[in-house]
């Protein structure tokens, strides 16, 4: 499963004077599920539209299945695509919508009918063939759009924020459904989203995009736990940032508030004594009080406690900074109290130095 199927090489896109995508490189394996994750306006849609062929790259090239498609029209690329606004053809029934690509490709009617029935079964709407799009809910329309995209057996599936127009419940269930269909068919997929939870829960790998660039490419685990830039660390998940001043570069020792913390070797990345650094910690890397195996501690004062059911989210003020952490709700021990002096501990290996 490491054969490159889609290859985006040095792609740049400018509209007039504004550059919207720069220096974009990505190799996608066959059958892989990739998410483009980033804030609105960062160029996700533009990059996807270049893969689909709706926009022409200003530079670079795009290869699909070893073939250069940079200059091919969208209708010559054999791609399936799902749009945010569903884009079902309002004048056609569900079955006719799903059959659209098959008919264009000239598939005989009997064969096409069988394929449509198969697709409607996959999206769990077997009896909806005769309905018109306006007779369906948003979630159903989007499933039909997925079936329409998949019916001609494309080699590549592109989805541009397909869930963002739906309400929360439908969004979560459809998310799982899309992923399971994708796995079953083994189709190479690019999924565009601005929702980190979607990206983290669905993807094999995530491309975090910022300002037209791919900031980091990695598995959800890597992106979340080892963000390589400040932007990624901030955009994905909740992040606690502490200011630290380098006290001894040789031993990677940093002073935070009134204590010294010794970081991993090399974490300082060439910073000199007296430099101020931003140190970041995920909430789940921090515990309240001392704990074996967590070598670093800081003193602080509890500033807020919110009860979320199975977990309790606690905010602790550390000097000028504040950190959030979660503790499990245990019925036998009382919850932390606001105003209490406390200690937090973590292991130095979990500290991210943001550059």
């Amino acid at each position: 499963m490491s054969e490159t199927f889609l290859s985006i090489q040095g792609v740049r896109k400018a509209f007039g004077q504004t550059t919207v995508v720069t220096d974009f490189n990505l190799d996608v394996d066959r059958g892989e599920f990739i998410s483009f994750l980033g804030p609105s306006g960062c160029g996700k849609t533009t990059m996807l539209r270049m893969v689909a062929g709706f926009e022409e790259p200003s530079a670079g090239r795009i290869m699909i299945g070893g073939k250069d498609v940079t200059n091919l029209k969208p209708n010559q690329r054999n791609i399936g695509m799902v749009f945010q606004a569903y884009a079902l053809f309002p004048n056609l029934t569900v079955a006719q919508n799903v059959a659209f690509g098959l008919k264009v490709a000239g598939m005989p009617k009997a064969e096409a009918d069988a394929r449509v029935a198969e697709m409607l079964a996959i999206i769990k709407l077997p009896d909806f063939g005769e309905r018109y799009p306006y007779q369906l809910s948003g979630g159903q329309q989007q499933r039909v759009a997925l079936a329409r995209a998949l019916a001609p057996k494309p080699k590549l599936l592109l989805l541009d924020e397909p869930l963002s127009a739906l309400d929360a419940k439908v969004r979560v269930s459809l998310r799982e459904e899309i992923r399971s269909i994708q796995k079953k068919l083994g189709i190479t997929t690019i999924f565009v989203t601005h929702d980190q939870e979607e990206a983290l829960s669905m993807s094999d790998r995530i491309v975090v995009m910022y300002d037209g660039r791919a900031e980091q490419v990695g598995s959800p685990f890597e992106i979340y736990n080892r963000p390589s830039t400040k932007f990624v660390a901030n955009f994905v998940g909740t992040l606690n940032v502490l200011d630290g001043v380098v006290s001894n570069p040789a031993t990677a020792t940093v002073r935070v508030n009134d204590r010294e913390i010794t970081l991993k070797k090399g974490a300082l990345n060439g910073a000199k004594a007296g430099d101020t650094l931003s140190l970041a910690l995920r909430p789940e890397a921090i515990v309240l009080g001392k704990q074996a195996g967590r070598d670093s501690t800081l003193g602080g004062k509890i500033s807020d406690v919110s009860f979320l059911g199975s977990v309790i989210r606690v905010r602790v003020g550390v000097g000028k900074n504040a950190v959030s952490l979660d503790t499990f709700n245990s019925p036998t021990s009382p919850p932390p109290v606001v105003g209490e002096e406390t200690e937090i501990s973590f292991s130095a290996g979990d500290v991210l130095v943001l550059h």
């Binding site: 689909a52 062929g53 709706f54 029209k73 969208p74 209708n75 010559q76 690329r77 054999n78 791609i79 399936g80 695509m81 749009f83 606004a85 569903y86 884009a87 079902l88 053809f89 309002p90 004048n91 659209f100 690509g101 264009v104 490709a105 018109y132 799009p133 306006y134 369906l136 809910s137 948003g138 329309q141 759009a145 329409r148 995209a149 001609p152 127009a165 739906l166």
Partner: protein, 263 residues
């Protein structure tokens, strides 16, 4: 409240009277051909007149060709403007309005000068050629209505996304226009078509100056020479126009419903 209600009704009644009294008077007059009693004699004479049948048939055929030409011209244009050149819309809209500003007589004199039998494009050199020119002229006259109808129809669908959805599934331009765009604006196209029909059936200037045997010049000719028949013809012409308008009303109920409302 009561007062404004009173004035609303008063205005309505005056308006209705202004509209209906001449109509009723014409209808009444058209029924009085036989002395002392009401009869449909005038209608029998008119409908039985071979020239009525010929000119009416001619105008219907010309109207059909005009509609086809209008659709072929306007649907792809309006579609393309919406899809690729939205910034040109005001310009195109203005151009389509020109036939309302430039009198038909100016257009037709232009035609006669441009397309005479010794011009490079001698439309007027043959009868068929003149018919073609007449159709082109009518398509121009109907342009403001056709363009507006189609453009309004296009506004109800997401032209760009639907086009891209069709393209990504392998469709070319012909398929997109024929299977996706046209069916979705069909009702709008039909209302444009009936407006065109109504315009062509009653048109006088162009047909007369190009010397074609159309219904408009026939109406005028009868009107100048007979007493009761013109009234009958006016009622028939009105019924045709009115019929076209009601068909548009009925059709608009069948417009495809837009489905792009997330819920």
């Amino acid at each position: 409240m009561k007062v404004s209600r009173f004035w609303a009704w008063a205005t309505f009644i005056v308006g209705a009277a202004y509209f209906f009294i001449p109509l009723i008077a014409t209808l009444e007059f058209s029924l009085r051909m036989r002395r002392g009693e009401y009869s449909f004699d005038a209608y029998r004479v008119v409908l039985g007149d071979i020239r009525f049948q010929e000119t009416f048939g001619y105008s219907v055929i010309i109207a059909c060709f005009t509609i086809v030409l209008g659709v072929v011209l306007v649907v792809p244009t309006a579609y393309w403007i919406r899809l690729r050149m939205p910034h040109l819309r005001p310009v195109v809209e203005f151009i389509t309005l020109l036939p309302l500003i430039i009198p038909a007589i100016v257009i037709v004199f232009g035609y006669i000068r441009m397309y005479g039998s010794n011009s490079p494009i001698p439309f007027l050199g043959s009868t068929r050629g003149t018919d073609v020119l007449l159709i082109i002229g009518y398509a121009t006259l109907a342009l403001p209505y056709m363009y507006r109808a189609v453009d309004t129809g296009l506004r109800t669908i997401d032209v760009r996304t639907l086009t891209e959805a069709a393209q990504v599934h392998g469709a070319g331009w012909t398929t997109i226009i024929a299977r996706i765009i046209l069916p979705n604006v069909l009702i709008a196209v039909l209302s444009g078509a009936f407006l065109t029909f109504a315009i062509v059936i009653g048109e006088f200037t162009m047909a007369s100056l190009l010397n074609r045997p159309a219904f408009g010049p026939y109406l005028q000719n009868i009107g100048a020479n007979r007493a009761y028949e013109p009234a009958a013809l006016a009622v028939i012409a009105f019924a045709i126009t009115w019929g076209c308008m009601s068909v548009i009303q009925v059709l608009s109920r069948f417009a495809p419903k837009s489905a792009n409302n997330p819920n």
